[in-house]
């Protein structure tokens, strides 16, 4: 079966091939080491194939790794482009339909399907800074996708009047070039996505004889080499010079049309021989040309004749070429279904220039490379503050640690095969039929609830703890039992029907003594559950009404009036009377819950008291309210069906340690089981802007909720998480607001209402903790410097 495309991963450890499968397209990821070393090839323990993906509905024409290596893009005859990302090892997986023999060593998951083209996708290419993905198709268009926010389209380049069969980016990022069957090669500007020039002369005599026309731009940006061109009725590969798009030279020699041209990613200079003059030689590039005549030629731009020509390398035409990143190896694939690897030595090619030298050449020739994208600029931005430098370095170190940790993780993860939550897969299987939950639907049909055996994970490797599977029991339950100090004291919950029962609290004293002083542990939790009701809800009809207040942001609070006069659901207006047992003060007196409960079928399911004496009320519909004594209102702190919570995605702002296991009353109320549902990859189902908004709103809610519950530990946790999210997403204004609030007035001023502490934590201490987080994003270095200077002034006072 033909293999249409091959691409080597930037780290050199694996490569991908794309081609025709059985009734579908096939993308396979292979291990590189058996190709490079014969010992590895013979070693049976080293896998050759790492992953096979049959998701494309038709032949795959192109596979390309992103420059960072995180993503793989594949485009096929099914008009789709699929973007793949590696997933952590969740459980054993086999390629279904291959009789279970082919096990996937690595797991790659499709994170995005890009639909737009109305014809076969022939080529895809990542821009040099990975912010854009370009794809070209037989529908005569080139589409530029926003690689940061799939599936957003930035531009559609229309202009070709024939099937577009090849794409290449200018290494500096200023242009993108495409070649099509309409006998033209068009160069487009990335600044405004308009046509810069269209070159037709070399292609006059061409016909659409090739499947692909893969062209290539040299790494120094000087030359663009086309695929199939004609010169005096002989097939050539035309060399186009960047200055003026001149077409004076070409590569001659192949006997049939040139299908693919690929430049070596390295720029070379002549090898320094001992004793020769020390005159620095001009740097040159290396280019490989593959053709329909089944032969391959390799050229150096400083020589007039090819370095090497290999005839009849395959049985059918060559389809794609890929160089290793170190420039010394090359993989070539062909329509005959095979792939060849060629090895070069430095003597043959020359001394490769390092990446810095290459950037220097770019800068000297073209000015700042990729001047358009600010992100790329940041990588060369001057760090003005030595503190920032320290944090940046630390972050890099952390990333390295994470990488090494993840490689260790994957090593140990493979041995976990077949074990799910302690039970082996075999046992689960045997018991499944008994355990399986089956119900009947309204029309009498059988309905089975499937058993969840693994969570999806497309997150980074370091968050491997997501693999824990909540098969049994709720985590909230396990947390309560493992905690040393019960922070919530469940008072005897009053069932909705027994509202009339009013037991006078005869034993408040007993309950008080059972309360933990801080150390005595489980005994207390057991005692607490067995103490009789210390609260007596009494049935009273009172005129006083509460307006439920939803705190969206501690700065802006909205008062939403509940509909008064809504039909009462029960004849009894339930009220609650709670006593703070510890202080023996009646906290809530005869407040009517009417407005909260009105209009829906909710009942109070549970009433709890936090360590700080804040009453929390759980309703049967999953909402939890807590009473804010200073404002005498009930605040909503948790809603199990909160769509905000489900849409929020802030995984990227979690520190690498298990920050999710933040304990405290808020966590217990909200219940950790609901969290795992959120880990699903919702990134690409919700438009990014909406996702950002919902995540922000959710995080702000959490911070406010923690504040109302007076849980300082959680307040700190959520505030840091919120700040980290802001830093990652670049919301400078809100970040500034937080810093300003935490900093307060530096110089003494009367009339300022700033309080130096919040929930028992010193605000300026919090700010100090925030600084390293801010320091990780170079964009905020001004903010960082300002805050730091202010803190220094305060400290010196």
């Amino acid at each position: 079966k033909p293999i249409f495309s091959v691409d080597i991963h930037p780290d050199g450890t694996k490569f991908a091939t794309g081609g025709q499968g059985q009734d579908s397209g096939k993308v396979v990821i292979w291990n590189m080491s058996p190709v490079l070393q014969e010992d590895d090839e013979k070693d049976e323990n080293i896998p050759k194939m790492l992953c096979q993906m049959d998701n494309h509905l038709a032949c795959v024409n192109c596979v390309r790794w992103s420059n960072s290596g995180m993503y793989l893009a594949s485009g096929g005859d099914d008009k789709l482009i699929m973007v793949w990302k590696r997933a952590t090892y969740i459980g054993p997986s086999t390629v279904f339909g291959s009789s279970g023999k082919l096990a996937n060593v690595e797991q790659w998951r499709c994170v995005s399907i890009l639909r737009n083209h109305s014809g076969d996708v022939m080529d895809v290419a990542w821009s040099p800074h990975d912010a854009w993905l370009a794809s070209c198709s037989v529908d005569n268009t080139v589409v530029i996708w926003n690689a940061v926010k799939f599936p957003e389209i930035l531009a559609t380049l229309r202009g070709h009047s024939g099937l577009v069969k090849g794409l290449t980016w200018d290494p500096v990022g200023k242009y993108i070039a495409s070649q099509a069957d309409d006998r033209s090669l068009k160069v487009w500007r990335t600044l405004d996505w308009q046509l810069e020039t269209s070159i037709t002369k070399p292609f006059d005599e061409c016909g659409g004889t090739t499947h692909v026309l893969r062209l290539s731009w040299s790494p120094d940006g000087h030359y663009l080499v086309s695929a199939h061109a004609m010169n005096n009725s002989g097939p050539t590969a035309q060399i186009i010079e960047r200055e003026g798009w001149k077409t004076n030279m070409d590569f001659v020699g192949h006997r049939k049309a040139v299908t693919v041209v690929k430049f070596n990613p390295k720029i070379f200079k002549k090898k320094q021989k001992n004793g020769s003059s020390t005159k620095p030689s001009c740097p040159y590039c290396c280019c490989a040309v593959g053709s329909k005549d089944r032969s391959l030629s390799v050229w150096l731009t400083c020589l007039k004749r090819p370095l090497v020509v290999i005839h009849e390398l395959f049985d059918k035409s060559i389809m794609d070429i890929s160089w290793t990143l170190n420039g010394l190896g090359i993989l070539v694939c062909s329509m005959d279904g095979s792939v060849a690897f060629l090895d070069f030595s430095q003597d043959e090619l020359g001394d490769p220039l390092s990446e810095e030298e290459k950037s220097r050449i770019h800068q000297s020739t073209y000015g700042k490379s990729l001047a358009i994208m600010t992100e790329a600029q940041l990588s060369t931005a001057v760090i003005e503050n030595p503190e920032m430098l320290k944090y940046q370095r630390r972050q890099q170190q952390q990333q390295l640690d994470q990488k090494s940790a993840s490689t260790r993780e994957t090593g140990s993860a493979t041995s976990v095969a077949g074990v799910v939550n302690g039970e082996s897969l075999e046992d689960i299987r045997k018991n499944l039929l008994k355990k399986q939950v089956e119900t009947r639907t309204a029309d009498g049909r059988r309905r089975i609830t499937p058993l969840c055996i693994a969570q999806l994970d497309t997150g980074d490797f370091s968050t491997a703890f997501f693999n824990s599977i909540p098969l049994s029991g709720s985590l909230a339950g396990t947390m309560l039992s493992s905690h040393s100090s019960p922070q919530l004291l469940p008072l005897d919950s009053s069932t909705p029907n027994s509202f009339g029962a009013s037991k006078p609290c005869t034993e408040p004293v007993v309950a008080a003594s059972a309360r933990p002083a801080g150390d005595s542990v489980n005994k207390d939790s057991m005692n607490a559950t067995s103490t009789p009701a210390a609260l007596s809800p009494s049935v009273l009809t009172t005129p006083s009404k509460i307006e439920p207040m939803k705190a969206f942001d501690s700065r802006f609070t909205e008062r939403s009036k509940a509909t008064p006069g809504a039909p009462a659901l029960t004849s009894v207006t339930p009220t609650a009377m709670e006593r703070d047992v510890h202080r023996q003060v009646v906290v809530v007196k005869e407040e009517s819950l009417h407005s909260i409960l009105a209009g829906s079928d909710m009942t109070v399911s549970q009433i709890l008291l936090t360590q700080h004496g804040i009453p929390v009320m759980n309703l049967s519909d999953g909402k939890a309210y807590c009473f804010n004594p200073s404002l005498s209102t009930w605040n909503l702190v948790s809603d199990k069906q909160d769509s905000l919570a489900q849409c929020a995605d802030f995984r990227s702002s979690l520190p690498s340690q298990d920050a999710m296991l933040c304990s405290g009353p808020l966590a217990i109320i909200q219940g950790r089981t609901s969290n795992s549902g959120r880990q699903a990859a919702r990134l690409f189902s919700v438009p990014h802007v909406v996702q950002q908004e919902t995540t922000l709103a959710y995080l702000e809610n959490q911070v406010a909720a923690a504040l109302t519950l007076q849980s300082s530990h959680e307040y700190r946790h959520w505030l840091l998480l919120y700040a980290r999210y802001l830093v990652n997403e670049g919301f400078e204004y809100r970040l500034r607001e937080i810093c300003k609030d935490l900093l307060g007035p530096v110089h003494y001023s009367t009339g300022s209402q700033w309080e130096s502490t919040v929930v028992g934590l010193r605000k300026r201490e919090l700010l100090k903790e925030l600084l390293p987080v801010i320091g990780q994003n170079l964009r905020f270095q001004r903010l960082f410097t300002e805050c730091q200077e202010q803190l220094d002034i305060l400290r010196d006072k």
Binding site: D54, T441, R447, L456, A680
Partner: protein, 154 residues
């Protein structure tokens, strides 16, 4: 747009007598939580000649489906022998497992089933009318899962 893919279908109790219920253990993966249930059907192909001999052994709704990998056991009764044409009763036939969402079929997995007499004598001289009490079914894998173009969309 969610993506649902079938990871594995295991046949429990293979081989088994003809009349014993079919039991498949199906594992599948879903990239997002689905709003509705998936509908799985087991179809016994009575005869390769025409579809009128297809028997839908059972159809089951599976849900609710959160994101992640899931497993369930699909049990269905054995096919009704009277509906199977005599000539095709003993021999190799096909059992199909299909899954549909919102009425659109998006995956179909097939298994070859070999029905043959357990008693070697009967194998040599098969009676005119098939005696199903003597027949055992043996499943062979081999038919590729066929993924149809419908992606599970909300």
């Amino acid at each position: 747009m969610a993506k649902v893919s079938v990871l594995n279908v295991a046949v429990l109790e293979n081989p088994s007598p003809f009349h014993s219920p079919f039991r498949f253990e199906i594992s599948f993966e879903c990239s997002e939580a689905l709003a509705d249930d998936l509908e799985w059907k087991i179809i016994y192909v009575g005869s390769a000649e025409s579809e009128e001999f297809d028997q839908i052994l059972d159809s089951v709704l599976v849900g609710p489906v959160p994101a992640g990998r899931h497993m369930f056991v699909f049990q269905a009764d054995a096919p009704n022998p009277s509906l199977i044409p005599e000539t095709d009763a003993v021999g190799v036939t096909v059992v199909l497992i299909t899954c549909t969402y919102h009425g659109q079929e998006f995956i179909r997995v097939g298994y070859y089933v070999n029905n043959e007499y357990l008693n070697p004598e009967l194998r040599e001289n098969p009676p005119m009318k098939p005696d199903f009490s003597q027949v055992g079914s043996l499943y062979l894998g081999g038919v590729q899962p066929c993924k149809l173009g419908v992606k599970v969309s909300s």
